[in-house]
Amino acid sequence: MSDDERVQVDVIVVGGGPAGLSAAYVLAREGLDVIVIERGETAGSKNVSGLLYGTVLNEMMPGFYERAPIERSIAKRSIGFLGDGVQASICFGTDEWSDPPYNNTFMVYRSQFDKWFAGEVEEADAALLEGMVVDGLIYEGEDEQRKAVGVNIRDDEDFYADVIILADGANALVTSEVFEQLNMRRGKEPQSYALGVKEIIGLPREKIEDRFGLENNEGMAMDLIGSPFEGLVGAGFIYTAKESLAIGFAAKVESIAKCGRTPNEIIDGFKQHPQVRRLIQGGELLEYSAHLIPEGGYRAVPELIGNGVMVVGDAAGLVNMSLYHEGSNLAMASGKLAGEVAAEAKQKGDFSKRTLAAYPEKLEGTFVMQDLKKYQGVPEILDHIPGVFAEYPARACRLLVDYFRVSERSKAVIQKEALKNFLRGLPKIQFGRDLLRARKLM
């Protein structure tokens, strides 16, 4: 490249999160000339933290968990219900989860993890341009022939590429404009978003391991629903890191707006629940953050390709918002596949929509689209069973507590009363219907 020649490479990836980095990693390993443009000061600096499922990454970089900055591998999970003064939970795990590959479930701080991943991508010889913002794409041609040929970097020059992979995350400003420009099809339903709010609370390692019953680098992931999230379509979580806890919740944006409490008040209420308080007490607030999560699911997934572009990860709404809340793994799977297809397109010398169509076609056959399809009804179900996050859990808790209440009355009376309490004020038909619907959440 001479100083006045325009910069033209094989692929430009917009966004240096797990999706974009996976695409770039595959492409660089195939020997393509690839540039990743990340608006954050460093890759991951615009992201938060949480669970990472590592199946796809392990395919790309076998044994990555030996080298990556992982806080803890998740050896135990629990699903808990919090009521007013009551609680219930199931906690499960197996010894296998404490050994490689650790059930492919890890707690990571994304600012560190993404940075490490970006380093591996650079090592594979992709160029990483951090702290640079893509304002939009550059197009050529009209109508059906119209295609994206480059990117416009804010306060800087234009760069050109044969294919542009859009990995600009949940708040996909660039992707959104590309849909207009290239007349790409939106999802059947508009995308909806959850707001994730998280605090990092510092605690000594021994305290964490004692309180959660962990050894060595074992970690625990707790999902919690119930009274702190009353009126919200959402739930809370606590994940253990080495010397800190990540605690927070994710809830549908509209439900937060409607519930009359600020995200801050919600998380405070969650932290003050007696069961939660004793897990975090004595801790020091180190950091807080918030992030948008696309949760429209399968029905909101748009067309994933256009002339010269492919959309991956959160920008494409590839998030499984069921109990698994799996996002980064889907992002990496889609990025990896898009990278492979772009490498094939380079070999053929054909970057038309027809060639790139291999990406969505192959994606259909992977767990990404299969899972999204299986859970496509989830957003609707959650909208229609307002009680699922607060009222039912509270009732279930109360049922257990009443059931085990020790007194001199006969067990038959106690049990009958417990059931009566559980059903009090509950319209039976609605309960039955909700129960049937909720089955699809599993």
Partner: protein, 261 residues
């Protein structure tokens, strides 16, 4: 007009909550680094002179990069040469030792009219590095320089911050300028950002390293040594939350206040 700029990588303590320094004087947590902002101002001054009058800009830094490599960042902003001073013997220098090393490196680069650096010295919590370099090189210097008013073969005119205002001074060349605090964001002198094309060009450019064999290494034993560090304990505030509906609790709180008075 050739300039040499001394640039440093410092801990980024901007977003930290809580104590940064542990009881043993060691820095805690996952600290990242950043480009010393005053050094970035100094670099911008040198680059503006180069833009207007041509010439060469050389940057020198010390120690391996921890996180943000200021030398590479300077290359991304179009400096002509970047040099790293690095040697295991450079690990525990005091400010004077560092001034000796930098002076020696500046002489080795040679052919310069200006030496620029930022005022802050995070390593020693003092602002002497630029002044000591000037003294060792036997050059005139000005500190707290906020802007250059003019520069030609006969000298440099610069505006420096003083108590309650500014003064404009003129120095013959070569000279050492110690640049003041970070400029406002919309200031025309705001440091430029890295350029995408230069990032591509220089991401693998080899940066030469000079060690004790290349430099005057006669002042590597610190005159001043660190004995210990103490942190000032933060005032602890114990908060209590009381249910506003709970009258008894409110009364108890008022009584507690009264007893404290």
């Amino acid at each position: 007009m050739n300039s040499i700029v001394i640039v440093r990588e410092i801990w980024d303590t901007r977003d930290l909550v809580g104590d940064v320094v542990g009881g043993d004087g060691e820095l805690k947590g996952n600290l990242l680094t950043r480009f010393e902002p005053e050094d970035l101002n100094a670099l911008e001054m040198a680059l503006q002179i180069k833009d207007q009058q041509g010439g060469k800009v050389t940057v020198i830094s010390i120690h391996p990069s921890r996180d943000v490599d200021v030398l590479r960042e300077a290359l991304y902003r179009d400096v002509d040469e970047a040099i790293r001073l690095d040697d295991p013997q450079f690990a525990a220098l005091d400010t004077l030792g560092m001034a000796h090393l930098f002076s020696s490196a500046i002489q080795k680069v040679g052919d310069y009219q200006l030496v620029l650096t930022g005022i802050s010295i995070p390593e020693g919590e003092n602002a002497f590095l630029g002044n000591q370099i000037a003294t060792l090189l036997g050059l005139p210097h000005a500190s707290y320089v906020d802007a250059l008013e003019g520069i030609d073969e006969t000298g440099v005119t610069c505006k420096r911050g003083i108590e309650g205002g500014y003064e404009t001074v003129r120095l013959p060349l070569p000279a050492v300028l110690v640049v003041g605090v970070a400029l406002l964001k919309d200031d025309p002198r705001t440091p430029r950002t890295a350029k995408a094309r230069l990032k591509l060009k220089h991401r693998k450019t080899a940066i030469p390293t000079w060690g004790s064999a290349d430099l005057d290494a006669s002042h590597l034993t610190p005159v001043t040594t660190l004995v210990k560090r103490d942190t000032v304990p933060q005032r602890e505030i114990e908060s209590q939350s009381i249910d506003p509906e709970d009258e008894a609790a409110l009364k108890a709180m008022l009584n507690e206040w009264r007893s404290l008075r």
